[in-house]
Subunit: 435 residues, 2 copies
């Protein structure tokens, strides 16, 4: 007799690799973690949330509404504010693509990614992802028995020629009918920090369209904009802030092909898990029904807190301060890397987000079982090995010489100290690194 009765999904679902990293961090009190994707603790808007909740719960009428069930799709005011905000961020004119009717509120953008994947993908289906990509999404893919295919990245987003080549290859093999999604983390990507230009997103949509006939169904662009709001202001000094690219929603034909996932958790308070999606009609209906089965709607209290934060301007005010803060912390990390790291380590300065992606010489391994990772732990500093951010993809070896460094959670002093420790960990490997 089996010792359990788990489903195929239950058996496939693996522990997230990050849980091992987090346990490691907890077990070593002196450790500086540049691994965690947590947000900056000091910057959390405690007084703002206190005031907003005091207002919301200050009257019986608004208080009762916040403490009662809402609807599955979400608080109408928050859906409206979300649609307006996206349209304004995209700088676009009125368009059906930004209808509040297409907004679904979820528990962080993570739940949106999960539900969309459930709604579209059967075991054996193929999801195109960036190489590297967000490792928790790779876990979702793996748990659902899907295959991931990596598309190479360039400084301004995915390599369109490689996207085309991957699709052409799948077509030749008769596998195009299994392709459902292209998943892009489009702003200050986790893990690489790369931002995809609007032109690339619009072109990617066209490339996908060109293969739909052969696929026999739509191929959606799932734009994960989780870091979008964490853009560095121009004044911060790391780089002159380029105008932020519009989302794929601003592209022609987006309304039927773009699934946009965003969040208010990271830009406001991660303990307040409110994310959202903006979806094409047929996908919306399926996702809304699935959301109903998951939890018939996110907490009304949290949604109304966010709606009030947005409508009152406190959200924007907090965000402006937060953007400056992260820009300073990124600057501290980049300056430390420039001063301390061997010349063979390369990186691209991000224009926002929480991460810097460092590339070593391909001869120097950075993986969880590598000497470098051990050496870093011995020096009491933790990073996310780059290998965790690459999909299983038989068409290429999995790169294993990169590091994801986060300036989100650590203090500026710890960022500086952590980078020094990392540099010290690199030292014994100078020869392997080609120095």
């Amino acid at each position: 007799m089996n010792s359990h009765a788990l489903s195929a999904l239950g058996r496939r679902t693996e522990a997230p690799p990050i849980s091992w990293l987090m346990a490691t961090a907890l077990a070593r009190p002196r450790l500086i973690s540049l691994a965690a994707g947590f947000t900056d603790n000091e910057s959390l808007p405690v007084p703002e949330v206190r005031e907003l909740l005091a207002e919301l719960l200050g009257s019986g009428r608004t208080g009762q509404a916040a403490l009662q069930y809402g609807t599955t799709a979400g608080d109408p005011a928050l859906r409206e504010l979300t649609a307006c905000r996206l349209q304004s961020l995209d700088g676009g004119p009125e368009s059906g693509a930004y209808s509040p009717q297409r907004v679904l509120i979820t528990n962080g953008s993570q739940q949106m990614l999960y539900i969309v994947t459930e709604a579209l993908c059967d075991p054996g289906d193929i999801v195109l992802v960036e190489d590297p990509t967000y490792f928790v999404y790779l876990g979702i893919i793996q748990s659902h028995g899907l295959q991931a295919r990596g598309v190479r990245m360039q400084a301004d987003g995915i390599d369109l020629a490689h996207l085309e080549a991957v699709l052409a290859g799948l077509k030749r093999k008769g596998q195009l009918s299994r392709v459902k999604l292209l998943y892009l983390v489009s702003y200050y990507q986790n893990p690489s920090g790369v931002t995809t230009s609007f032109e690339k997103k619009a072109c990617a949509l066209k490339v996908l369209r060109a293969y739909e006939r052969a696929a026999g169904h739509p191929i959606y662009l799932l734009e994960d904009a989780a870091y979008r709001e964490l853009r560095f202001p121009a004044a911060a000094g790391t780089e002159v802030a380029a105008p932020e690219p519009a989302s794929a929603l601003a592209a022609r034909g987006s309304a039927s092909r773009v699934i946009y996932a965003g969040t208010y958790s990271k830009p406001f308070a991660t303990g307040v898990r409110v994310g959202f999606g903006l979806l094409p009609e047929s996908v919306f209906t399926a996702a809304w029904r699935i959301k109903g089965n998951h939890d018939f709607g996110s907490s009304n209290l949290l949604q109304q807190l966010l709606a009030r934060a947005l409508a009152s301007g406190r959200y924007e005010q907090h965000l402006n301060a937060l953007q400056k803060r992260y820009a300073r912390k990124a600057q501290a990390m980049l300056a430390g890397m420039a001063a301390e790291f061997p010349a063979t380590v390369r990186w691209q300065a991000p224009a926002g987000g929480l991460y810097v992606w460092a590339r070593l010489s391909p001869r120097l391994k950075s993986g969880m079982k590598s000497k470098l990772f051990r050496a870093a732990l011995d020096k009491e500093v933790l990073y996310v090995p780059g290998e965790l951010c690459y999909a299983e993809d038989a068409s290429r070896p999995r790169p294993n010489h990169e590091l994801r460094l986060s300036f989100g959670a650590a203090t500026e002093a710890n960022i500086r100290a952590g980078i020094k420790r990392l540099a010290a960990a690199f030292a014994p490997f100078a020869q392997e690194a080609g120095d």
Copy 2:
């Protein structure tokens, strides 16, 4: 080309039948809804939540902790309080069954039901359910491509002889390996109001055990205790409150076979979506990983609010008042039914929860397309047709002569008026009803 690329699950997932009922209610402002499972609006703990949140967010230390990410399994204090509370409700001695390590915090108990089903069931698998049962769970079963088998109910819970007969029948047909779960809504059941005795739960566990060898794997008892805390106090007059039965966790061998799902939403505030599960180790691990993929943990702010409500005694204080309130409302409904309904309508007074289950003569249909349902709408009163609460099960016709009436959301005055309207709707059908 297909117009969409939905997965099998995406295509299977149906709109909840209740959404049609809710839309009907919204479209008729004069309508009294005895259909909604919403909780009582006036009783929502607005001042309590305001105070608790002001305390929590009153210091930077506790405030920041509440607004930061937590862990996937949930807030340690809330897990501990939950395990203790369950042990105390069960009146049991220290036991491994109540370890906080087995507690997983979810977005309402609904998410727990969803995740457990994902973790255990593959398409084609069989879930045993009560006849009738919670219709949203039937939606989860249907969306995952599972089969439901109904087990008959008695006044004190499922009919054990019928459970045995259903299992024996499945064994004969060689389908036992597909049976993963028996799903029981054990306290003041939605929809029937029936409470399952402890003895029946313990016996049901033994019956399931007896078939495990032939099944080739464990068969779990999923105890949905969502209404457990909404017990009427003895003084309320509807009935002398019997001592509440312990949960199946108190039965021998429960630690490896009982999955307990509970919630703090209904007893405290439905806008605060915090539920929990207490699971056997192997199921816990799978559920915890799946929860990580869903949303890597429920809102820390809501969890810490609940932990503080529990630890401070405010939860208990609120609950005592709420229990009295619901008992009064149930009493109003039952008194109205006794005074107004024709003698052919039968019901069992519940000892808690939100529902009364009314049975008509089997000749009188109550379904959404029935003359009675139309007549009720004409009289501006809404109920949940009993047929929605029965699984698709080829082994019996789907009963269609019952009504779920809720005293949760409506005011006492509206409960009385609603029952009068229903009685008026019954009048023209007196003959069919056998009067």
